[in-house]
Symmetry: C2
Subunit: 411 residues, 2 copies
């Protein structure tokens, strides 16, 4: 197991996950797989907190996913317990038993039903997870719960990540200030079919579970569902939104209530920031790539086309090499199966229009594009010429670092 | 532009493309992109020859593809002209004009309609192709046409390939010996949605175009459509089957005629061998990976599931690192969208059953699997547990070589 240096795309400064009223967290180092660093985190929210969630669509989901899906139907949460290093996937009945053991230990410590304890695991697939050390550590974890503990939790849930991830926003609901803070992990096995990451977002908004669920699902399309590192879809993707309901605003029961516009926007910002942090920490990433698609038949088509470009190893290696090989974008678009007009196709790298009218633009100056590609942040714009659908997706380049990390992950 | 060393998966010995009665070929070095090597090939078949073909399904196909699709409707061929280094894709009306110029030059030299001259181009996308040097070289090429020229043609059509590719078979139709020889190029931009390669197969069988077309289409599913290197689908995939009709067997007009069983089998063998040679020359490939899927709801589902595993960067890097990380196969299968039974899923690496019944097998010995993964040829077997559909697909590992080649392809 190698440790990679901090991604050159990482934000400057330390990770900060501001406290959310009513939300506490703690972390501990149990050496489940990683040594000398925290690897288990506990998040706690008060009695009566509401929960929303999104999970992987994998048909071989992890045992924690099966549990979380089941208890999410209640819409209530008291805690989330998370471990890094072992994903607890494909472990048969023992895998389910490990999840139950964790939930029961936390429930006993907090005095709540196990069905209010969410469980998430990330790491190696198909390796038996011994839940006993985690269960035994729960009293220590609960004793350490603190409102300023979210940053420590962000550090405990990482795997191949090279930096911990958090994003935060303040908004108002009906004139009352509300805080949103999210933490996430993710670096490889990142595909757009559900976040392919772990993300836990806490808020003190006083909103019921159905409202949270609707708002979370809406924002996922333009955040967690619009990023890709390698196109590989995880067994363990989990996004949870927990509301402590401590903010003293009036009750709002309709997700389309105009009083929720600011909250919806803040949630979208936090989700997009978390998603982008994952791309910035994509395994081996040296460049962040934003792909803007317009002129599609609809937004979904634009997103699918963008993701095919974003997942193309040939596009990603060309960007890694700062090679203005825009023909590979043509190839990927041709391959994506979405409607487009060859003669109406426009391709820009950075600000430079490279191709239009079915061919390269007269006087196209590749040196300008080469300078753009030499930077850390690359923008590709594609107009498909058949409608008004649009989407933006994000990915990273494909480099030797990806091979280094993944050819030796378990070793 | 870097030149890679010969793939360690290349067959031993030189490339040999045995002559086919009535079929001649020649090659020439025009320095269109590559220096000091032949880069244009001409294949000639006699008047009255029949043609069948399969082309990319890209919605941004190369200009030669548009031409070939149109003339294939006639079912007749006299020649194929091929160049390496420039794919003549996305070049607007000038791209179509370049194709016409090539076809007319060859037609004038051979005394046939331009509509019997197929054109294929491979290389950089979106770069204007100057057809004049090719057109001017046609008299030299026709003067050099020889029955033993197919090997030289195989050498002229390569791009990032590290070795030329040919496969051959002899069979009998109604007791009369018939020869099939195919040449191909392909290394990157190899996805299963049509060969993603150039392949030209010549035979002296006396078969009409509709019979050839049916037999070619049937065999593609288990050959060209069952390989992948990087999942990127080319703009230029072309497979042509040309029959000189010189073999003195009785006419056979029905593709299901039992007298064609041997020919169909020989064609399948040649196509599969060519397809496998492409995988063996996958950019950066150090290992050939065969993925056998059984127990799917049908053969198509088995093939799709196998290809998702074959295209998974995480599976491919694990194999590159000889890491028995079978959990990534579980991940890819979970992600593939095809029906499977988690509890019925069986995964084998080489001969070793690793997982069954929803978890790892008791007493599983990873050291045996590690030895298998250390070899040049790796076999993964997956039983999905929901039916009797089966398919085999082939890919290669994902290594630093792929990055090296593709981050600097045009430079």
């Amino acid at each position: 197991m190698t440790t990679s240096p901090r991604s050159p795309l990482a934000p400057e400064g330390p990770c900060e996950a501001p406290a959310v009223p009513g939300v506490r967290a703690a972390a501990i180092a149990l050496g489940l797989r990683y040594q000398g660093r925290p690897d288990v985190a506990l998040l706690e929210v008060p009695e009566g907190s509401a929960a929303a969630g999104l999970f992987t669509r994998s048909s071989t989901p992890g045992h924690p996913i099966l549990w979380c899906r089941r208890i999410l139907a209640r819409g209530r949460a008291r805690a989330v317990i998370v471990n890094a290093g072992n994903a607890n996937v494909f472990n048969g009945p023992a895998g389910d038993a490990a999840v139950a053991r964790e939930a029961e230990a936390v429930a006993a410590a907090l005095g709540c039903p196990p069905e209010e304890v969410f469980v998430a695991s990330t790491g190696v697939i198909g390796l038996a997870l011994d839940a006993e050390p985690i269960a035994r550590a729960v009293p220590t974890l609960t004793a350490g719960l603190a409102e300023d503990g979210l940053t420590a939790a962000a550090e405990a849930i990482v795997t191949t990540d090279t930096f911990p991830k958090a994003a935060s926003a303040i908004c108002a609901i009906d004139g009352v200030a509300v805080r949103l803070t999210g933490i996430a992990k993710g670096s490889g096995m990142i595909a757009p079919d559900m976040a392919t990451m772990l993300a836990f977002i806490a808020t003190d908004a006083d909103l019921p579970a159905p409202v949270l669920q609707t708002l979370l699902a809406r924002t996922a399309a333009t955040s967690f569902h619009s990023i890709t590192v390698d196109g590989d879809g995880s067994t363990s993707d989990t996004v949870l939104l927990l509301a402590s309901r401590r903010a003293p605003h009036d009750a709002v029961g309709d997700p389309d209530d105009p009083r929720l516009a600011g909250f919806a926007e803040a949630l979208a910002t936090v989700c997009r920031e978390l998603a982008l942090l994952v791309v910035r920490d994509g395994e081996g990433a040296q460049k962040l790539v934003e792909i803007r698609v317009t002129g599609a038949v609809d937004d979904g088509s634009a997103r699918r086309a963008g993701l095919v470009v974003a997942n193309s190893p040939l596009v990603k290696t060309a960007i890694a090499g700062a090679d203005a090989n825009w023909g590979r974008v043509v190839m990927a678009l041709g391959h994506c199966g979405e409607p487009l007009a060859v003669d109406g196709l426009e391709i820009r790298f950075g600000e430079t229009l490279i191709s239009a009218g079915g061919g390269v633009v007269d006087g196209y100056d590749e040196s300008v594009v080469a300078r753009h590609l030499a930077g850390r942040e690359v923008v590709l714009e594609v107009a498909l010429g058949v409608g008004s659908g649009a989407a933006t997706v994000w990915t990273c380049d494909l480099t030797h670092g990806y091979i280094d990390i993944n050819a030796a992950y378990r070793s």
